[in-house]
Amino acid sequence: MPKPDNLQGALELLTLKVLRRGPNHGYAIAASIQQMSDDVLRVEAGSLYPALHRMTEEGLLKSEWRRSEVGRRARFYQLTAAGRRKLEADEQKWNTVSAAVARVLAAAGNL
């Protein structure tokens, strides 16, 4: 199963995208990515948590402790204004690049 963290920047982009829907904890973020990708992308804790903390450090996310759906305390992450801008920019960039890659692959396939 491919891991999004092998694609540079992809994990960050997906995390931002998932959090766009609202604050959530690390487990839920990983589960959402896995679920939305129909189990294609699996996020490992060893990649997810360092990334979440780095993004918090960079000001893209902010975090706070809240009561979770199972009643236990969990750290919830939330997009900041800078995170939202970053998401827009990265999403656009990703689309441009992936479209370009698709074009190259298509062209190469026709050779």
Partner: protein, 865 residues
């Protein structure tokens, strides 16, 4: 992450890490709840310790990376904009040098020095001040004895007086040394144990007990070659041999700067209220007592004394202050405030300089719009951008602070070497060195500076950017109103502040290189004192023998050297006055020896020097000021509450018997005060110490110094002669202060001028580069170049004119409000000169960018889209 939680995480990593652990535990539990058994969930999670480490590494790396990046950017900006770096850097360095140097010396050496004694903050000085609070009353032997016996706030109370004695050793020329005649309790106050032997005991203070002395470690090592059998050997001071009973450890120079301690024998001294020699009294607070409680107890004690002796005590107020203050002239009621007020001035200068730099930085930040926009698009928050600009500014302000510290260190070294001749009389804790606290203060100032020059423009820039930073019309982005106002305010400040600085620089420079106004280089001066009786006879004999020397053409004495007269306040019989004046007590032949011509009346005659005599001589300016010139036979008296000579009781009338020409008129320690002078006659023995002035027939006066000491010794070994130096040198001894202040004023003037012009330059450059396209189009359409340049110039000119007019008005108002003191008598020259210079410098600064606008190629400008 907020700054606070960031600091908290850094300070307390444990709680942060337990947070990560909790997060991972939660992850495990969720996995289990979703149908994975415990073992499976652990495998899926991976090694939690490794994840924790990774998180930690990521945090530190991100943090460091962003800081390092910002610092690197800051350094690159300095290289890219050297003009800004130089103008801003020099200005800030000057401001930091003044603020940190001033603060350092003020706190380390004067207000709160560190004294090497146990619990040194418990040490206090105890003084009586006259009710006007202007001079301390030091004849307090009687009061000392009463305080010692009655006050509960002090664990120990001690008193001392400073003597100058001849240290006499066989085969060597006698050397004048400083001796502290101190009560034994003084050593208890200090709380330092002797290196060898003992310190003084109360028995040593009794009349008739053997003469003993305690010496310092340096005396023991240098003068007695560290003799281990030193105790019991003797030292001859003047005519008395003292047995050495103790050696104090290295560095112990208590109470002021002393290496010799003899007991203060109070029994031999007059002990009525306000009689006897000048004493300093100090103590150690009792456990539980505070300065305030001690002050209250003492105030009550003086109030009780005033009930018994109202004439003596009603005008006196006790003051209990931290020990060092009384020894550096800071124990007066307003002295601390006065000492710190320049600090407020220096910090305002710093803020003014920083605002100037902020203008420059803002103009630069605005041109970096694209770069900042890019960073925002890449996800940098406003805080991140502001942080970046702060760090960039900090690189500049920190380098400037380093420069400022270097300047301050150099200046302090100058001060230290200039005061070297005074070093033996300065309190031992004064070093004129930069302490770590001072350097920390300078760094704190650089943070303040970075906050102003980085954050203010950054907030402005980011706010505009968030609103959408669009090109507006042909003019492009313009600097906002705020900044136009700042430029005008900046020119206003320059025109308003520079005149006092320029005038100060001019006056101080003149004083710093001025001559003495008379043939001072032909005089040798010396301070003469004697501890025991028969001083009058001995002094008369000394004067006779000196005058008989073939190298000498005349000798005289006075209370202070001419030019260093003391302050007093007097009023005239007819009701004019009171006026501030200076007084001196002089030998009968004083005016003849100094060749001061008498303008009216007579000189001093024998009989005028009797204590009850009322004859005084005044100088011509005093006669003019109080009596319109016709002063002979008129009477004056010292006002109550003001300073007065010791025998010049308030209320007693003195008759003017002569008028002399003003003297000296050149440089001297007292030249900044009033030039009204008043002279009393004094007989040998009345002034202890007395200042001798010896007029030489020819040759350098310094060559006579050793001869003078020999004559003194042959008259009496107890006669002490010190501070033997040319009168010229004595008068000029404070001239370096004028040169130093002149240098400070010049540095302020230059940095304000440079910054002003740099601000205008930056603004003009910015305008021209923003209007490139517009100018290109106009030139392509054949517009007259004069109109284009004129248009650019007019903005600068308007701001300059507005600022200059406002500043000039402010300066004139301030000059009038201060009664003409602020700028001084040169105001009519200085004001227009400064205004024209600021405007000219501003126009010059505008010239470069204006010329650049002419070189704009319309084709290039239009194709730049």
């Amino acid at each position: 992450m907020s700054l606070w939680s960031r600091i908290r995480n850094t300070l307390s990593p444990a709680s942060y890490e337990s947070g990560i652990r909790e997060e991972l535990d939660f992850h495990l539990e969720m996995d289990r709840r979703n149908g994975h058994d415990a073992r499976e969930a652990r495998i899926r999670l991976g090694n939690p310790t490794r994840i924790e480490e990774q998180v930690r590494d990521v945090r530190i790396a991100t943090w460091l990376e962003s800081w390092l990046l910002d610092l690197r950017l800051g350094a690159r900006m300095l290289i890219k904009y050297p003009g800004l770096a130089l103008a801003g850097g020099v200005g800030m360095a000057v401001a930091v040098a003044l603020a940190a140097g001033g603060y350092g010396v003020m706190t380390n050496d004067f207000l709160s020095p560190h004294l090497p004694f146990p619990n040194s903050d418990r040490l206090v000085s105890i003084e009586l001040w006259d009710s006007a609070g202007r001079v301390p009353e030091r004849r307090i032997l009687h009061d000392y004895q009463s305080w010692r016996d009655n006050l509960k706030s002090f664990e120990w109370i001690a008193a001392f007086r400073t003597l100058h004695s001849n240290l006499i050793a066989p085969g060597a020329r006698p050397e004048s040394v400083r001796v502290a005649a101190m009560t034994a309790s003084g050593f208890q106050v200090a709380g330092v144990q002797p290196l060898m032997g003992r310190f003084l005991k109360p028995e040593d203070e009794r009349a008739g007990s053997p003469s003993v002395i305690v010496i310092g470690e340096s005396v023991w090592r240098n003068r007695f070659a560290g003799d281990p059998g030193i105790l019991g050997r003797t030292v001859q001071l003047g005519a008395t041999r003292h047995e050495i009973v103790g050696v104090m450890p290295e560095g112990f120079a208590f109470p002021v700067n002393d290496r010799f301690w003899v007991p203060l024998r109070a029994a031999a001294l007059p002990a009525d209220s306000l009689t006897g020699p000048d004493l300093m009294v100090f103590g150690r607070l009792a456990p539980g007592a505070t300065i305030e409680s001690a002050q209250a107890e003492l105030t009550a004690a003086i109030a009780r004394a005033a009930l018994e002796l109202p004439r003596t005590y009603a005008r006196l107020q006790p003051r209990v202050t931290p020990y060092p203050l009384a020894f550096v002239g800071m124990s007066g009621p307003d002295d601390t405030t006065a000492a710190l007020s320049p600090q407020a001035l220096f910090i305002s200068l710093m803020v003014l300089v920083c605002l100037n730099v902020a203008i420059l930085v803002y103009a630069r930040t605005a041109t970096r719009n694209e770069e900042l926009g890019l960073r925002t698009a890449l996800g940098a928050g406003r805080r991140r951008i502001v942080g970046q600009l702060f760090l960039e500014a900090f690189v500049l302000s920190f380098l400037a602070a380093l420069g400022g510290i270097a300047i301050a260190a150099l200046a302090l070294r100058q001060v230290a070497s200039a005061t070297l001749s005074l070093a033996a009389d300065l309190p031992f804790w004064i070093s004129f060195r930069l302490s770590p606290a001072t350097i920390l203060y300078a760094v704190a100032l650089s943070v303040l500076a970075a906050a102003i020059i980085g954050i203010v423009p950054a907030l402005q820039a980011t706010r505009r950017r968030l609103q959408g930073f669009r090109l507006r019309g042909a003019g492009g982005m313009r600097l906002g109103k705020t900044w136009t106002i700042l430029i005008v305010a900046q020119v206003t400040c320059a025109v308003a502040l520079l005149p006092p600085a320029v005038s100060g620089a001019w006056n101080d420079l003149q004083d710093g290189i001025a001559g003495t106004g008379f043939a001072a280089q032909r005089f040798l001066s010396a301070e003469l004192s004697m501890d025991a009786g028969r001083f009058a006879d001995r002094q008369t004999e000394l004067l006779r023998r000196v005058e008989a020397d073939p190298q000498v053409s005349g000798v005289t004495f006075s209370l202070t050297i001419p030019g260093d007269e003391r302050d007093a306040r007097i009023e005239a019989e007819a009701g004019s006055g009171p006026v501030e004046t200076k007084f001196n007590r002089v030998d009968l032949n004083f005016f003849e020896v100094f060749h001061v011509p008498s303008l009216a009346g007579r000189g001093f005659e024998s009989g005028d020097d009797a204590p009850e005599a009322s004859a005084v001589i005044v100088n011509q300016p005093l006669a003019q000021a109080l009596f319109g010139g016709n002063a002979l036979g008129r009477r004056i008296r010292y006002t109550t509450g003001g300073p007065a000579p010791l025998n010049g009781e308030p209320g007693r009338w003195y008759r003017i018997v002569g008028i002399v020409r003003d003297f000296p008129t050149g440089v001297s320690p007292g030249m900044r005060g009033t030039n009204l002078k008043l002279y009393h006659a004094a007989a040998p023995g009345q002034l202890n110490p007395a200042m001798l002035a010896i007029r030489m027939r020819g040759g350098a006066p310094g060559a006579f110094a050793s001869r003078l000491v020999d004559i003194g010794q042959s008259v009496d070994p107890g006669l002490n002669l010190r501070k033997i130096r040319g009168l010229d040198e004595a008068l000029r001894s404070e001239q370096w202060i004028s040169r130093l202040t002149a240098a400070v004023f010049i540095a302020i003037t230059l940095s304000v001028l440079i910054l002003s012009s740099a601000g205008i330059y930056a603004l003009m450059s910015f305008t021209v580069s923003q209007r490139r396209k517009e100018i290109g189009i106009r030139m392509a359409l054949g517009a007259d170049w004069k109109r284009i340049v004129g248009g650019i110039f007019s903005r600068a000119l308007m701001q300059l004119a507005a600022g200059a007019a406002l500043g000039l008005a402010l300066a004139i108002v301030a000059q009038h409000a201060s009664g003409g003191v602020l700028i001084g008598e040169n105001a009519n020259i200085v004001l227009p000169l400064v205004t024209l210079t600021v405007v000219a410098v501003g126009l010059l600064a505008a010239l470069g960018p204006a010329r650049r606008s002419l070189r704009i190629d319309p084709r290039e400008a239009l194709s730049e889209e």
